[in-house]
């Protein structure tokens, strides 16, 4: 056990030595890996934020039913009474056209506009809150009510949230594809840098084999090097994504406030950062492993 630990400590030290021996190349590598990681990682951060936004808004799906302006004043009241007896509907709020106009008039700056209107252009409106949040119920109700007598339009208010969710699904798929492509790229970068390392260290490898180094001993520092490279890429990616989110948030905070929302794009949780590190480190390790299996055997003492 102690010797096992020692072997790994030595291998890690050797990997760090190899890494530092060509700092400039290693930094460029970290940058390349970081950019490759930042794209899907940043996309993920944005999508997660949108996901939270759309599910939060969908908690209370509402349906607005606008009556025709030429409908009988009683029609809205009767419909409201009928809907209050419907088990699918949680709450019914009736806003008469007079109430709506009064509210508009009370809104500062609009009083003059209302006065200029002459007749009241606003319809009676029913705002329905649906029990549960299943899209099916909401759509069905909207369709039924759209055909009810005296109704001009029944509109699902959570529609934008659902569109966002659909858009988000497309985004997730695109992100998954991008991530898969970049994962392959990451493995290829690690494969190639480790290949170059192996070739420049031919002598050392040959000597190691001559003095009785096992394949495991020889390959370990290269595997650690692949891992370190992946991790260095993660650091760069976290910095890039952090900077990107901060920049976007300066715009988003203002925009969200105008909608009365405190929404902003949050940075990764520590769990997500660790997951990213594991994935990128693992991919670096995998590329190194492929390179090592392919090239180390070829170098034999002559």
């Amino acid at each position: 056990m102690r010797s096992w630990l020692r072997q790994h400590r030595l291998a890690l030290a050797a990997a760090i030595r190899k890494w530092r021996a060509q700092r400039a190349a290693a930094l460029l590598n970290a940058l390349a890996l970081g950019v490759a990681l930042a794209l899907p990682a940043g996309g993920y951060a944005v999508l997660e934020a949108l996901d939270r936004l759309s599910t939060r808004s969908a908690i209370d799906p509402q349906l607005s039913v606008f009556m025709r302006t030429d409908a009988e004043p009683e029609a809205a009241r009767q419909l409201a009474a009928r809907l209050r007896g419907d088990a699918r509907i949680h709450r019914v709020r009736l806003i008469t056209r007079e109430e709506a106009l009064a509210a508009l008039r009370g809104t500062s700056g609009l009083a003059d506009v209302v006065a200029a209107l002459g007749s009241n252009p606003l319809p009676d409106t029913l705002v329905l809150t649906v029990a549960g949040s299943s899209d099916g119920v909401l759509d069905q109700l909207a369709e039924e009510l759209g055909r009810a007598p005296g109704v001009a339009l029944a509109q699902v208010d959570a529609l934008w949230a659902r569109r966002l969710a659909a858009l988000e699904r497309v985004g997730r798929l695109a992100l998954a594809l991008l991530a898969a492509i970049l994962a392959v790229g990451l493995v290829a970068i690690a494969f190639n840098t480790i290949r170059l390392q192996i070739l420049t260290q031919r002598d050392e490898i040959e000597v190691s084999k001559l003095i009785g180094a096992t394949d495991g001993f020889i390959q370990r520092p290269f595997l650690y090097l692949g891992l370190l490279q992946g991790l260095s890429g993660v650091l760069v990616a976290l910095a890039l994504v952090g900077a990107g989110l901060t920049l976007m948030n300066t715009e988003i905070v203002g925009l969200a406030r105008s909608y009365g929302s405190e929404f902003r794009l949050p940075f990764f949780s520590s769990g997500e950062a660790v997951a990213l590190a594991l994935i990128a480190g693992g991919l670096g390790w995998l590329g190194a492993y492929m390179s090592v299996s392919r090239y180390l055997r070829e170098i034999e003492p002559k």
Binding site: S3, R6, V207, S208, L210, I211, G212, A213, D215, P301
Partner: protein
Amino acid sequence: MISFSAVSKRFPGGKDALRGVSFAVEDGELLFITGHSGAGKSTLLKLIAAIERPSSGSVLVNGQNVGALKRAAIPYLRRNLGLVFQDQKLLYDRSVYDNVMLPLAFSDHPPREAARRARAALDKVGLLERERANPIQLSGGEQQRLAIARAVVNRPSILLADEPTANLDVDSAGHILDIFVAFNRVGVSVLVATHDLALVERYGTRVLRLAEGRLLGEGGGG
């Protein structure tokens, strides 16, 4: 103990480097292998270290059939051998001391003991004061001695040296051979391949003569 029985080695391309070679080396022996260029001296040593495998016949080292060793077992064979090559295969990206430390990575010595052994090996070949130097700063003879220090630092039971005195003047060559003789005195089996017959004769030990891959017979002896 090393024993060759009817060992032949044919390289791809049809070249017969060794043909039906049989001999045995007892523990603690000092043995020279001579012969013209291309006679098969290097090939013979490489078969012992499993760098090459025999085409036919068997090579036994301490009872192990080296020619049939699995790839994974070869490192453990080599840890018991000290190898010195004509091109010393030193690493020029690290100090003399670090070159000698290389083989100690596989032993379980605590760091202080490893350092002590490395210095002892450097001391035996007279390079202790040069431990901080880079091998490139050493003369040919000094580099050769460094290669020997690296070969013996793990106290192998068998030392194999291929042309360790090539390109050295007579004094330096004599110095190198004296080091081998000293190791042999403390019980290490030593096999040295060399062109230098004049030098070999000074030691009066057993000599294997190779020509065209065949063993001509043995000379020397006390």
